[in-house]
Amino acid sequence: MNKPSSRTPVLAAAGILALSLTLAGCGGGDSAASDRPENEIHVLVYGDASNDVESAMVERFNETSDVKVVLDTIPGAEYQQKLQTVMSTDAAPDIFFNWGGGSIQDFVDADLLMPLDDFIEEDPKLKDAFLPSVFDVATVDDTPYGVPMRGTQPVMLFHNKEVLASAGIEEAPQTWDELLDAVEKLKAAGKTPIALGGGDEWPTQMWFSYVYDRVAGPELFQSAIDGDTDVWDSEESRESLGMLRELVDTGAFGTNFQSVKFTDGGSHTLLSTGQAGFELMGSWEYSTIQDVNPEFAASGLGWSEFPEIEGGKGDPANLVGNTNNYYSVLKDTRYPEAARDFLKLMYSDEFVQEQMAIGNLPTTTSTEGFLDQATNPDYARFQFGLVQDAPNFQLSWDQAYPPAATPTIHSAVADFFAGSIDEDGFIEAMQSLKK
C-alpha cells in the first residue's frame, strides 16, 4: 500500500480509536480523574441485615455535616474481593468495613491506610471507649488502623436443651472429658452428637482454633503468625491434633459432616430440629436460629463456653472468633476531619442501642448499661461477660492471616477431619503459609 488511498483516513481513525480505547481500558490517567468527589465521603460496608444500623448512623451524621456520607454496600460473599480490586483505584472508599488483623495487613503494607494515632490524640475516646481486647485486633505494628463498628462474635458451644436432657446429660460440659462423655451418651441415644457444617470448612476451623488455644495457649498461634512455623511441629500442636482426631474418629460429628453446610441452613437446622446435641458456632447462631425457628431460640437453645482442657496451657476463659468488625480510613481521603467525626459515632449511645436492637453486641465500654435492652438479655449478658473477662480473644485463624492463606487453612482443616491427611500433612500445610 505505497500510495495514498481512500483507506488511509479509515486506518488512521481506527488506529486512534484503538489507542483511545486501550488507554481508557487501562483505568484512566492519574491527573484530572484522581480528584476525589467534592463534599462527600464514601463508606463501604459488607451488605447484610446489619446495614440498617449503618444507614441510621449515616443519616444521623448527614443531619449536621456539610460533607455528606454516602453508604455503599456489597453483598457478603463478594465483599473482600471487590474491596481488594477497588482499593488502589480512584474509586476506593474513604472509610471501609473490615475484620482487622490479616484482613487489613496488605492494605497497611501498600501504605493505603491512615494511622489513627492523631485522631485518638485529639479524642482519646476513639480508643478508650472500646474494650481493649477488641480494639487491639485492628492494630498493626503497634499502630491503630481501625475502630470497632458492629458487634462482637465470640464462638460458643450451643446445645439443644431437650436433646441433652433426653440423653441423660444434665448440664453443658465444662471439661473436655465431659464433652467426650456427652458425645457417647448422645450416640447411644441415636443422635448426631455435634452438628458441623464441614462443607463450609470455616466451622471446622473453629474446633482447631479452640483446641489449640486450650492446649497450647494463644502463644503458639501468635508465634506461627509472626513467622515461626516450627511451632506447628511442637508437642502441643501434635497433642491438639491427636485430640481432634480422637473426637472425629469417635463419631462425634457423624459421618456426613463434610456434606453439611452452615450457610445453607444445614447444621443449625440439625440442632434446632433435635437431630443433633451440640454445635460450635459464632454468636450469630442465636439470631440465625431466631430467624428460622423463634420458638426454639427462645426456649430450647442453650449455650456455654468452650470446655476446659485439663492440663492445657491456655486459660479456659480465652475466646476465639471474630472480635468485631472495624472501620478503617483511607490515607488519601479528602476530608479526614469528616471521617474522624463519623468514627466518633461508633461509641455513641445511639449506636449501641441500635446494634442491641438487632441482636448485635457492640464492644464499647458503655455496652454494659444497655444489656437489658437486648432481644435476649440473658444471652447478651452471658456473651458480654465472656468478652469482658477473656484474657485473650483469638481472631479466627483465616482472618488473622492475610486472605492469601485462607484456602490453604480451609483445605487443611477439612482434609484433616476427613482423614485424607494425617498430623504430618496438616503440619506441613500450616508450615507452608507465609506471614
Binding site: N256, G266, D415, A418
Partner: protein, 316 residues
C-alpha cells in the same frame, strides 16, 4: 469472519490506471477490502489479544491487586511446575471432560433423534425437557445442592441408595454429582443440536433402507449416526471447551472440595487470583488453560477432519 461482511462496494475499486500490474486473483474475485475487517479486528485486538498479552506479562509478575505489579521473572512458572494441586487440577479437568462427553453424548443423541420425530406429543415433551437450558448454572447448582443435602434432601429419604448421604464429602461421589448436574443442565442443549441434525437427514434414505428390509436399529446405526457425524464433532468440541471452563457449578456445589479433590484448573485459577490475590500465579494458570484448550481444539479439528467440513450428503 470476512464472509459475514457486506461485499465491497463497487465505488471504491483499486484503481489500476497508474500502471502498476494488478494481481490476477484480486481482480477476478473482487474481494472486500481490508478496511471492512477493521471493526472486527480492532475489537478482537482489544478484547482478546491485548488482554492475552497482559496475562502473559502478568504471569511473570507478582501482584495482589494493590499498588504496582512487581517483576519476578519465571518464579510463578517454577512454583507452578512443582505444584501438586496444579497437576491434580489438570488431571481432574481432563477427567471431567471425558466423563462429561461420555455421559452426555449418547443420551443427547438418543433424545435428539427421538425428538426429531414427527408426532405432536414429542414437541410438548421436548419443550418441557429443554427447561434446564433456561435456568442459570448458579440456580441449578443451588437447587441440586439443596436436593442432595444428606439430612434434609433426597439421600435422607433413600438411605438404601445413598447410605449416609455424604455425597459432597468423598472425591468420587463429589465428582459424580458435578458430572450429573452438568449432564442435567447441558444434555438439552446438545439434544437440540442433534434434533436439528436428525431432522435434516433426507427421508429418502430411510425409505430406501426400509425397502431393503433394514430394521430401526440398523437404520439408526447405518444412516442416522453417520449422518450426525459433523454434529457430533461440533457438540463434542463445545463440551470439551465448556468442560475446561466449568466453574460456577464447582464453586457452588463443592467449592473445590473436599479439600482440593474437585479443584479443576478453572477453579484453581479463580482461587489463586481472587481468593489468594495472587494475580501473577492466576495468570500463569490461565495461560496453561488457554494453551491446553487451544491444543485440544486443534487436535480435535484435525483428527476429525472437521476443518475440511466434509459433507455428510456425499453418496446420496
Amino acid at each position: 469472519m470476512t464472509t459475514l461482511l457486506p461485499p465491497r462496494p463497487p465505488a471504491a475499486p483499486d484503481n489500476p490506471a497508474k500502471g502498476r500490474p494488478v494481481r490476477a486473483g484480486r481482480a477476478r474475485l473482487n474481494r472486500p477490502g481490508v478496511a471492512w475487517t477493521l471493526p472486527a479486528t480492532v475489537f478482537f485486538l482489544l478484547f482478546a489479544v491485548v488482554p492475552l498479552i497482559a496475562v502473559v506479562v502478568l504471569s511473570f509478575m507478582t501482584w495482589t491487586g494493590l499498588g504496582d505489579p512487581k517483576f519476578v521473572g519465571t518464579e510463578n512458572w517454577e512454583t507452578l511446575a512443582g505444584d501438586s494441586v496444579m497437576l491434580k487440577s489438570l488431571w481432574l479437568s481432563v477427567l471431567f471432560i471425558v466423563l462429561g462427553v461420555a455421559t452426555q453424548t449418547p443420551v443427547s443423541i438418543l433424545l435428539g433423534v427421538w425428538a426429531a420425530g414427527p408426532q405432536r406429543n414429542r414437541a410438548v415433551l421436548s419443550a418441557i425437557f429443554f427447561l434446564p437450558l433456561l435456568l442459570s448454572s448458579a440456580a441449578i447448582s443451588v437447587l441440586w445442592r439443596a436436593l442432595l443435602d444428606p439430612n434434609f434432601g433426597v439421600p435422607a429419604q433413600l438411605k438404601w441408595l445413598f447410605g449416609d448421604g455424604n455425597l459432597f464429602g468423598n472425591q468420587s461421589t463429589a465428582i459424580g454429582v458435578i458430572i450429573f448436574v452438568g449432564m442435567w443442565q447441558f444434555t438439552p442443549f446438545h439434544t437440540l443440536i442433534y434434533q436439528g441434525a436428525a431432522k435434516s437427514v433426507p427421508p429418502v434414505l430411510y425409505q430406501a433402507a426400509e425397502i431393503d428390509g433394514a430394521g430401526r436399529v440398523r437404520q439408526f446405526f447405518s444412516i442416522t449416526l453417520p449422518q450426525l457425524r459433523n454434529s457430533i464433532i461440533t457438540s463434542v468440541i463445545l463440551m470439551v471447551v465448556g468442560g475446561l471452563t466449568t466453574f460456577e457449578t464447582v464453586l457452588i456445589l463443592t467449592n473445590g472440595g473436599p479439600g482440593t479433590d474437585t479443584t479443576i484448573t478453572a477453579f484453581y485459577m479463580y482461587e489463586e487470583a481472587f481468593r489468594r490475590y495472587n494475580f501473577g500465579m492466576g495468570s500463569a494458570i490461565a495461560l496453561v488453560l488457554v494453551v491446553v484448550a487451544t491444543a485440544i481444539s486443534l487436535i480435535m479439528v484435525k483428527v476429525s477432519g472437521y476443518d475440511k467440513m466434509r459433507s455428510t450428503m456425499e453418496g446420496v
